[in-house]
Symmetry: C2
Subunit: 324 residues, 2 copies
Amino acid sequence: MDSRNGSVSETPLDAEIGSFFDSAPPLKDCDGIAKKLKDFIEFNSPPPGKGSPTGVVCVTSGGTTVPLEQCCVRYIDNFSSGHRGATSTEYFIKAGYAVIFLYRRGTFQPYCRSLPEDSLLECFECSDDSAIQVRQPYAEAVKRAISDHHAAVAGGHLLKIPFTTIFEYLQILRSIAMSMRDLGSHAVYYLAAAVSDFYVPWKSMAEHKIQSASGPLDMRLVQVPKMLSALKKAWAPMAFCISFKLETDSKILLEKAEMALKKYRMHMVVANELSTRKEEVTVVTGNEKILVCRDKTQSDSDVEEPLIELIVGRHSAYVKDSDL
Amino acid sequence: MDSRNGSVSETPLDAEIGSFFDSAPPLKDCDGIAKKLKDFIEFNSPPPGKGSPTGVVCVTSGGTTVPLEQCCVRYIDNFSSGHRGATSTEYFIKAGYAVIFLYRRGTFQPYCRSLPEDSLLECFECSDDSAIQVRQPYAEAVKRAISDHHAAVAGGHLLKIPFTTIFEYLQILRSIAMSMRDLGSHAVYYLAAAVSDFYVPWKSMAEHKIQSASGPLDMRLVQVPKMLSALKKAWAPMAFCISFKLETDSKILLEKAEMALKKYRMHMVVANELSTRKEEVTVVTGNEKILVCRDKTQSDSDVEEPLIELIVGRHSAYVKDSDL
């Protein structure tokens, strides 16, 4: 379309995004997810004339996979335990927000991060009369996990939606954005998931398992379209958006975070380095760089506690400004 | 070395394997793992003159990862839930074997396969007096998981060792082979893990996260040396070895299984196709192709039950032959 005729012209990015979604394998249970989202947003929307709730946050968590074969045996994965997303979800709910937790299958879940791996086998034992009981060192952690998690879900404050591939992740994120649209400035995106930068387009993918018989494997991966642009410009123009930048090389971290802030017009970018990410992060905004550290006088403190406090403060100010 | 002087000449494969291990990042807690293996094998070895136990099986399970960066953010993964390895472990223990379960972190565990994902949150609830209790539909499955698993570990029949990368997997497998050497024909390898065919040698790997700014990503992966050859020829020459061949294309499956049987001198290759692998497998031996199916008159039967029965029979015959 031609912008001289008053219509919006399609940019190269729009075309790239369109072609990504057109060629993606269809999402399973698409209608079921849309229904759950609709109910959750309705439950957490303000009744007319009764003022506004704090808001709804979409927290994304864990890494996406990129299949290398359609009958997927091999895939490229992004490392992410999901600890940041799970922990932040707890603090958002504590601050009065409702959370849509879009998480990679098998990663950390809210309220469960102090449990050991293999929690069922580690935390429980069978007593002599063959009753199942919690082993003593884990009693408090298990009780907290089960009761707090249940309270959040049963109270309608937490909706969990799992994904595995980049195709699932981006299709569900778009659905969430559509559902949250009417929330305007009360919608928050906290994009902590580690999203693949590169993928193999579905149509150019090998149908069957790649054979290993003949020498080295050469692969060409193309860039995933920058969906943050689409989110901010088209899907959720009024929402408060926080993205993450993870690097292992501290020398380029802040520079790259600032670039992301400008390029995708985020409200905040949380810059974290792989080795220190549980101790401190730097929040980059339009005119500040704020170092946020966990309370080191407490052994069980989280950097997410002051981080979410900072975000909640900024988001409240943003809502007030938008309401003027 | 020159074979004319009576010493064994180094083949190209030996050189490849040597260079793989030399360049691999060192295994964490190498001594701790060796100690656990030593104790487990000692406990499960026959006292002198008292005849032999059934044997010790090394079951490998789940997929290995191949890091693409040294500070690992991205990696290539092989799909494998670990269901085959976990289920087979239960049947081997039931048949009187001790099992070293070498498994990918986060995959299915023995005795836990009928539990839902997120089992802790799904299977338990907090009662009104804030005691933790099992939710009714899961009562039997949870009790079985905890008591059978505990019995196997406490009884000294099950040793679990986790891995993530191909480097960890192959280093631990070699340690296991060294520990099991004295068991001779009583040692069984049941290699159900989905091991990467390709990897990026540690030394040619990017140190930091690969940047996405500049166009498509071209990668060259080289073949992982065929360790099955090393296992059979050098590490465990007397052991009874079963490997797996998974394909998504049934047309090439049996042919590839036969090739693997001959090339690596396995005793059996279990051929399975991705879509039907829980229903049936074909066991390829030197002169047979045996179709093994689960008992379809029982809804909760496993193809691993007749499969392990077949293997146990063949292994017993092999032990008798070796003892002659």
